[in-house]
Amino acid sequence: MAPRVVQIITGAALAAFVIAPLMAVWLNAGSSARFGPAEWAALRFTLMQAALSAALSVLLAIPLARALARSRFWGRDVTIMLLGAPFILPVLVAVLGLIAVFGQNGLLNDGLHALGFEPLSIYGLQGVLLAHVFFNLPLATRMILLGWMSLPAERIRLGQSLGLGAMARFYLIEWPMIRRILPSAFAVIFVICLSSFAVALTLGGGPKATTIELAIYQAFRFEFDFATAALLGLVQLVLSVTAAALALWLAGHDRLGIGLDRPAPLALRPLLQRLLDMVVIGCAMVFLVLPLALLCIKGAGGLADLGTPVWFAALRSIALALGSTALCLCFALPLATRWGEVIATLGIAVSPLVLGTGLFLIVRPYVNPFDVALGVTLCVNALMSLPFALRILRPEVQAVEQNFSRLSSALGLGLWGRFRWVMLPRLRRPLGFAAGLTAALSMGDLGVIALFGDAERATLPLKLYQLMGSYRMEQAAAAAVVLLLLSLSLFWLFDRMGRYGAQD
C-alpha cells in the first residue's frame, strides 16, 4: 500500500533496531563464546517445546474458531474478548492463575481427589505445554477467526446453491483459507515459545526444561559473558527468522476471488452441530477464563490497600501502552507485505535481555539510560507487538491490494484516496484487533523496564514484582487484577473501535 521506498526504509530501520543492539553486545564481549553440551540440551528442549506448543495451540484453535464463526449467541463479543485475556498477562500472574486450577491444590486436583482419583501434576513438559496453549490458543483462535470472517459471503452462498455437503464445503471453501493462515499463526506462536523462560522453568519442573533464554540470562547475570549471550541471542534470532520464512513459503495463496464485504449468511444448522459448537466454546471458556477468575477473586481483597504509587504506575503503563500502539501501527502499515512479516519477526526473536543491554550500550555515550527508560521500553514494546499486528493486518492488506488495486487505479485514486476509501473500511476490524493486542501486550510487559526501571518510573508489572519481593503477596494479587482489568479494557476499547458500525 505504501510506496516501495517507505517500505524499504521502515524495514531497514526495524532490522537496524534489532541487529544494532546485538552487535553492540557482541562488540563489548571480552572473551570468546562457549556453546557446550548444556547449551545444546537447551537448544533441543527449546525447539521441541516450541514446536509442540505451537502445533497444539493452532490445532485446538481451528475447531474453536470455526465454532465461534458459525455461532451467534448473546455475549459472543464478550466471549471473544475474554478469549484474548490470557495472552496479555505477565507470565508470573498467568502461572499463578493456572496453578489455582491445575496445581497440587488446584480445583482440578481437588475434584479428582474427591472422586478418588490420583492427582495430576502440572509440573513437567505437560505443564509447559498447558501454559503455552493457555497463552497462545486465544491468539491463534483470533487469527483464524479473522480468516473465517473474511470469507466472502458470495463464496458461501455459491457453495450453498451448489448443495455442497459439510465435507465438500470444508475442503473447497474453508480449507484454502485455513491453509493460508495456519503456517504463519504457527510461526508466530513458535517464535513466542522459543524465548519462553520463566514459564518453561517453573512449570517444566527444573533444569530439564532449560531454554536458550535462560542460558542467555545466566551468561549475563552471573558470568557477564557477553560473547556467549550474543551468540545465543543470534541462535535465537536465526531460529525465529527461519521459522517465519518457512511459514511464508508454506502458506499458499488464496485465489478464489473477492466478494462485496457483506456478512456471511448463517446457514440453518442441525441442533446437534449447534450443541457441539457450544460445547467447544464452553470448554475453551472454562479453560481460559477460570484461572483468571480465580485470580480476580483472590486479588479483589487487596485492592483497597494498593496506594497511590501503584495507581500512578498504572497510569504510566497506560500511557506507555498507547504510545507503543501508535508506534507499532506506524511500522505495521508500510510493512504489511510478505517480507515485512519476516523482518518484523526480529522483534520477538531477539531476547529482551540482549536487546535491552545492547540499547543501553548504544545510548550510554549520549544520554543517561535511566532518563530514557520509558522511551526505550515504548520502542521495544512496539517492536515486540509488531509481528502480531502484521500477522493480523497483512492478509487483509494484501487481499485488498490484490482485489482492488486495478479498480483503484482505474478510478484514479491517489495514495490517500486508496487508504481512506479502499483500505480503511476493510482494515478496521484487523486494525482494531491489532491495536488492542499491542496495547494490552505493552501493558503486561516486563522486559526491558526491569533492566532500566527506576523505582520512581516503574510500570505496573514492575510494581507487581516489587510487591512480591517485599512479601506482599496479597497486594501483588490485587495489582495483578488491576493489570488484568486495564489490559482487557484497552483491548476491548480498540477492538470495539475497529468493529463500531460493523454489520455483525
Binding site: 548444556a38 508470573l92 502461572v95 499463578l96 496453578i99 489455582a100 496445581g103 497440587q104 491444590n105 509440573y123 520463566a198 522453568l201 517453573t202 517444566g204 519442573g205 527444573g206 533444569p207 532449560t210 535462560l214 540470562y217 545466566q218 549475563f220 547475570r221 552471573f222 557477564f224 496506594g307 504509587p309 500512578f312 497510569l315 504510566r316 500511557a319 504510545g323 508506534l327 543491554t357 543501553f360 550510554r364 535511566f370 530514557v372 520509558l374 522511551g375 515504548l378 526491569a450 533492566l451 526501571g453 527506576d454 523505582a455 520512581e456 518510573r457 516503574a458 514492575l462 510494581k463 514484582y465 516489587q466 512480591m468 519481593g469 517485599s470 512479601y471 506482599r472 503477596m473 501483588a476
Partner: protein
C-alpha cells in the same frame, strides 16, 4: 515521543533543586521501592546531609559493569558476596574506610571495599499447619518421605538459588551431586527467581520453599501470622550478606563516605529489619525488634569467601543440573 517522555517526567517530577548536591546510589529494585527501606533511608540521610539522595534501581552489578568508569553512581548498595569477585575485578570500587569493629555479624568481616549492611541465611520455610513434622536437619530432609515437596530457585538465574547450591556444597562437599539426586524427587519445581517460588509456596503448592531465615518475620510482624517457620538445620546455614560500596571515580567522595558511615549508624540499622526484612549488620541483638529477637536462627554459619564461591560456582551449578536432569 518527546511529549510522552515529558509527560512521564511530569508524573515523576523530582523535587531536586539545582544547587543541592546529588548523591546517586544504585540499589536493587526491592530495596528502593516504597515497600522497601529505601524511602525512609533516603529521608533520614537527607535530614543529615543537606543533599539529595537518589536511588537508581535495577541490576546493580550488571549496570556498573556496563557503565564502567562512566557510571553516574557515587555508591552502590545491595551487592552479594557470591558475585563480589567480579565486582572487585572491575577496579571501580574504592575502600569504604569505615570502622568494621561496629559490625555484629555472626562471622568476622575484614573486607576493605565491601561493607555489609544486612544479612540472613538461606533456609527452607514451611507452614506449621500443613507440615507439622518438618525435617529438623539436612539429613532428615534427605531421608524424609518423597511426598514432601520443595520449591527452589534456579542457581543460573537467581542469587538465592546460587546460595542453595553453595550451601549443599558446604554441607556435603564431594557428596553434593548424590545429595541432589536424593533431593530430586522431592523438588516439585525450580523457578527463575525468589518471587515465583515464594508465590507458589504461599499458594500452598509446596510444603517447603527455599527462602531466608528472616522470611517468617514478615508474616509475624505484618500479618500476625505465626504459621510460617524456618527449618533450622544443625549442619549449618549458608550466610547471605548484602553489601554497599563506594565508587572510586565518584564526584562526591565526601557525600559517598558520609553515606557509608550512615549505613553503620543506629538510624539506618533500625530501618533494616522491618524495611528489608533482614538482620541488621551493625546492631546488637538486644536492639532488634522483638519479633526478630525471637526468630530461630542457626548456630552454625556456613560461608564461602568470594574466591571460593567464584571457583565453585560453575562446578556446583553443573552438579545440580546433572543430578536434576536425570
Amino acid at each position: 515521543m518527546k511529549n510522552f517522555t515529558f509527560a512521564a517526567g511530569l508524573l515523576t517530577a523530582s523535587t531536586a533543586l539545582a544547587d543541592t548536591p546529588v548523591l546517586t546510589v544504585y540499589a536493587p529494585d526491592y530495596f528502593a521501592s516504597e515497600w522497601g527501606p529505601g524511602p525512609s533511608i533516603e529521608a533520614a540521610f537527607e535530614a543529615s546531609c543537606d543533599c539529595d539522595l537518589q536511588f537508581k534501581t535495577g541490576d546493580v552489578l550488571g549496570r556498573i559493569i556496563l557503565e564502567g568508569t562512566r557510571t553516574d553512581a557515587d555508591a552502590v548498595i545491595g551487592l552479594n558476596t557470591d558475585i563480589t569477585k567480579k565486582a572487585r575485578e572491575t577496579g571501580l570500587f574504592a575502600p569504604h574506610g569505615q570502622d568494621v569493629a561496629k559490625l555484629t555479624l555472626p562471622l568476622n568481616w575484614t573486607d576493605e571495599v565491601f561493607l555489609p549492611f544486612n544479612y540472613s541465611h538461606t533456609a527452607f520455610i514451611y507452614n506449621t499447619e500443613s507440615l507439622p513434622n518438618a525435617p529438623q536437619s539436612f539429613d532428615e530432609l534427605l531421608a524424609a518421605d518423597d511426598s514432601i515437596s520443595l520449591v527452589i530457585q534456579d542457581p543460573r538465574s537467581s542469587i538465592s538459588g546460587l546460595a542453595l547450591v553453595l550451601w549443599v556444597k558446604a554441607v556435603y562437599g564431594d557428596r553434593a551431586e548424590s545429595v541432589w539426586e536424593q533431593l530430586a524427587p522431592k523438588i516439585l519445581t525450580v523457578t527463575k527467581g525468589w518471587s515465583e517460588s515464594y508465590g507458589l509456596f504461599t499458594e500452598g503448592e509446596a510444603d517447603m520453599v527455599l527462602s531466608y531465615t528472616t522470611s517468617p518475620a514478615y508474616h509475624i510482624v505484618a500479618e500476625g501470622d505465626l504459621t510460617k517457620k524456618a527449618a533450622i538445620f544443625p549442619e549449618g546455614h549458608y550466610f547471605m550478606v548484602e553489601l554497599a560500596a563506594k565508587i572510586a571515580g565518584t564526584d562526591n567522595p565526601e557525600l559517598a563516605d558520609a553515606f557509608l558511615a550512615f549505613i553503620l549508624t543506629d538510624t539506618f540499622q533500625n530501618l533494616i529489619p522491618t524495611g528489608n526484612w533482614s538482620l541488621p549488620a551493625a546492631l546488637p541483638v538486644s536492639e532488634w525488634p522483638e519479633a526478630f529477637q525471637e526468630l530461630p536462627l542457626p548456630e552454625k554459619v556456613l560461608f564461602y569467601s568470594e574466591d571460593e564461591a567464584a571457583d565453585l560456582r560453575a562446578e556446583t551449578i553443573e552438579e545440580w543440573r546433572r543430578a536434576l536432569s536425570k
